[in-house]
């Protein structure tokens, strides 16, 4: 395709979408009349646009929409519950560590009961951290997610 045809390429989509300004429209029309290759390209593109316009997504029935809001609220509640649980669990672990270190009265059994969840949490933390670091290197979505 000749170089001067390149500038007309995106304009073809603009024209098919009815979004091209009058001046660009006239330039493109003139070019299409003179360039059989771009004209053929335009015809193919027109078919793709017409066929894509016909796509329809299966919209769920009314029952799904009737319970949609309840589903969203359930998620909000669950998230709130999890946040409360995690904050409470972390506070308990911190308290346990403090008792473990500072209180001589704590029996071996109490110390084991405190140590086991602490070690478990540390293992989970290290595992998640390692996975995140690994994924950050190979993940093709990470740069596209807008924070």
């Amino acid at each position: 395709m000749p170089n001067d045809c390149d500038q007309f390429q995106p304009m073809m989509s603009g024209r098919l979408d009815g979004e091209l300004d009058e001046l660009s429209n006239q330039k493109l029309q003139k070019h299409l009349a003179e360039c059989p290759r771009c004209s053929a390209e335009y015809q193919k593109l027109a078919r793709i646009v017409a066929a894509t316009d016909r796509l329809r997504i299966e919209i769920p029935p009314d029952e799904v929409w009737d319970s949609f809001l309840a589903g969203a609220y359930n998620r909000i509640e669950r998230k709130t519950g999890w946040v409360a649980f995690v904050v409470g669990a972390v506070a308990l672990v911190v308290l346990g560590i403090w008792l473990f270190m500072m209180e001589p009265w704590a029996s071996a059994l109490v110390k084991i009961l405190i140590a086991v969840p602490v070690v478990g949490l540390l293992i989970i933390f290290v595992s998640v951290l390692r996975e995140r670091l690994f994924l950050a290197k190979i993940d093709r979505y990470s740069r596209e997610i807008q924070r």
Binding site: R47, R56, E58, V64
Partner: protein
């Protein structure tokens, strides 16, 4: 932004559940369609749309009321869907349903041949769309399924209108390439009817 939506948003930010409910009702189908464009099946799309509203609810106090609501919601839906795809792809669990032209009402002057031809092409496009990069799939969904103008898409995605046109064009050129690979007959060089 319409002033009644601004008022509803203001109330929702202030913690009024009825106002938040009204926002959900207004945008739930739009959110579903965007999510479907990313994940390609109904069940996941409904879940992800709900999850997006749950996150939006949590983040509402950080929303800048001088900006339009939908582009902000769209970014949340996009992030939720991309996170989902990242996890799913890691586990190799993506299932896709075709988008279909069921329910499409052809114009009166369209010949049966052309209806059949475009029907075949739509079916092939619905399968090929999921092979496109997600930003191209997203813009096709906004244009063809949400029926947004270039200006609306530009606001929604935070890109200039010229980029909307070139990204849409790239998506269509890639689609054409994918369809030619599978030799879709209706992409022949016949003139427009």
């Amino acid at each position: 932004m319409a002033s009644d939506e601004a008022a509803i948003l203001h109330q929702a930010i202030g913690g009024n559940p009825a106002a938040f409910e009204s926002l959900v009702r207004t945008y739930q189908k739009k959110a579903y369609i965007v999510a479907y464009g990313f994940v390609g099946n109904r069940e996941d799309a409904v879940d992800l749309a709900q999850e997006s509203f749950a996150r939006a609810f949590k983040a509402l106090n950080r929303f800048d009321e001088s900006l339009p609501f939908y582009p902000w919601l769209h970014r949340i839906i996009r992030n939720v869907c991309l996170n989902f795809l990242r996890k799913k792809r890691r586990h190799g669990e993506i299932s896709l349903n075709d988008m279909v032209d069921k329910g499409y009402d052809p114009p009166d002057d369209e010949t049966p041949d052309r209806t059949a031809e475009l029907g075949e092409l739509s079916k092939a496009i619905s399968a090929a769309m999921f092979q496109l990069p997600h930003d191209q799939r997203e813009i096709l969904v906004l244009r063809h399924l949400q029926e947004m103008s270039y200006a609306e898409i530009a606001t929604c995605l935070g890109i200039p209108q010229g980029t909307v046109m070139s990204r849409l064009h790239s998506a269509r050129v890639n689609l054409r390439g994918l369809l030619e690979d599978v030799k879709v007959s209706s992409l022949g060089s016949r003139k427009e009817g």
